[in-house]
Structure formats: structure tokens, C-alpha cells
């Protein structure tokens, strides 16, 4: 079974703090995506990374794809209450043309004002 191990599962921090969420696997992914989901809504795509070592920035969010394309991280700088939500990583294996994604377990982030 191809798994994505996501950590931590829960994170509660104060506004202004920094945080990092990790997504790790023993398998190589052709691409990896990060989603954020708020209660009552579907996951919203934040970013897709496809190249080993790739770094993408989205305002205060920095996404990195590992050199070997087996892991990824999401770093949030100066977190705000609006960042609260469930963060999901999801990967696609290059050997598959089904379009199916493998999801991590998710990280629930709470940013307190």
C-alpha cells in the first residue's frame, strides 16, 4: 500500500507563530498537492509541486517538494486565525494514469487570536 504520512495531526498555535506540516512517503510521487479545507466546504487546492527540490510560495505559505519526490512540507509564517482549517497533502504516482490521488491523514490547524 502506498501511504502518505502526514504530521502533525493536530496543531494549536497563537496568532503570529510559525509552523511546518510534513508529508512523507517511501514511494516516489510524480506530483504532490496541498489542500486546505474549512468546515462545511470541500478541499481547496493550494498548490501542486512536480519537480524534485521545487519551492513554491503563496503569500505566507511556502511549499517544498523533496529532492527525491518522496516528501513535502508546508510552512506558514506568522499564522493568522484565517489559516485555521484542515490541511491535506495528496500525491499522484507517475506509474498510474488513473488520475487517482493518495491522501495523507490531514493536519487540523487552529490559530488562536
Amino acid at each position: 500500500t502506498q501511504l502518505l504520512e502526514q504530521s502533525p495531526q493536530f496543531l494549536s498555535i497563537q496568532e503570529g507563530e510559525n509552523l511546518t506540516v510534513y508529508c512523507n512517503s517511501s514511494s516516489v510521487f510524480s506530483s504532490l498537492q496541498w489542500y486546505r479545507q474549512e468546515p462545511g466546504e470541500g478541499p481547496v487546492l493550494l498548490v501542486t509541486v512536480v519537480t524534485g527540490g521545487e519551492v513554491k510560495k503563496l503569500k505566507r505559505l511556502t511549499f517544498q517538494f523533496g529532492d527525491a519526490r518522496k516528501d513535502s512540507s508546508l510552512h506558514i509564517t506568522a499564522a493568522q486565525p484565517g489559516d485555521t482549517g484542515l490541511y491535506l497533502c495528496a500525491g499522484h504516482h507517475g506509474s498510474s494514469n488513473t488520475g487517482k490521488l493518495i491522501f495523507g491523514q490531514g493536519t487540523t490547524l487552529q490559530v488562536k487570536p
Binding site: G40, G42, V44, L45, T48, L88, G99, K100, L101, G106
Partner: protein, 115 residues
């Protein structure tokens, strides 16, 4: 990105009944998927909805329990049959991006409660 709508947004159903969830996309897409999600947890893929042929189900999910239709490239339905309280969950449809099948966009979800 595609705009995806789901109906109903939520429902409360009695044990033993069935509910059909609709997923409508604003553009033609090749890939459509159905997921189940417990609140606060990750997503579990139920099946891939194939246009013009039977859906492809993941391990642990069967057609008799979760029949899926995909009559065209913009619409799909998922039925949750003979429901039990264990079926209480959020059901999400997603579509593969037209130019990048590895990217998926999600609908808002249907929150189902079975009493």
C-alpha cells in the same frame, strides 16, 4: 479551475432508505471521483465515475451499496443504498483538471446523517 456543485448540501435520513447525491460541473471533464470523509479526517476514495461505463470501485466499496451513474462529461450521481448510521459522513465529488489529470478540484460536499 472547474466550478462544481453538489445536491443536496446536507440531509438527514432514516435507516434502510437510500439517498442520491448529484454532482454537476460547469465544463466537460474526463475524470470524476467520489470520496467519503469523516468530519476532521482525511478523504477515502469510493470510486472513479466513468462516462459510458461502470464505475471503478476501490477496495471495500461495492456497486450494490454505492451505485454510481455518469451519463455525460458534466454530471454524476452517487447513491448510498440501504443506509445505516455507519454511512453518516461527508460525501465529496471531485474532477480531474482538464490539462492536468493529477490535479483534482472538489465540490462542497454533502453532509449525510443517518438516524
Amino acid at each position: 479551475s472547474a466550478v462544481i456543485s453538489q445536491k443536496p448540501s446536507r440531509d438527514i435520513c432514516q435507516r434502510g432508505t437510500s439517498l442520491t447525491i448529484q454532482c454537476q460541473v460547469d465544463s466537460q471533464v474526463t475524470m470524476m471521483f467520489w470520496y467519503r470523509q469523516q468530519p476532521g479526517q482525511s478523504l477515502t476514495l469510493i470510486a472513479t465515475a466513468n462516462q459510458g461505463s461502470e464505475a471503478t470501485y476501490e477496495s471495500g466499496f461495492v456497486i450494490d451499496k454505492f451505485p454510481i451513474s455518469r451519463p455525460n462529461l458534466t454530471f454524476s450521481t452517487l447513491t448510498v443504498s440501504n443506509m445505516s448510521p455507519e454511512d453518516s459522513s461527508i460525501y465529496l465529488c471531485s474532477v480531474g483538471a482538464r490539462l492536468a489529470i493529477n490535479t483534482q478540484y472538489f465540490g462542497p460536499g454533502t453532509r449525510l446523517t443517518v438516524l
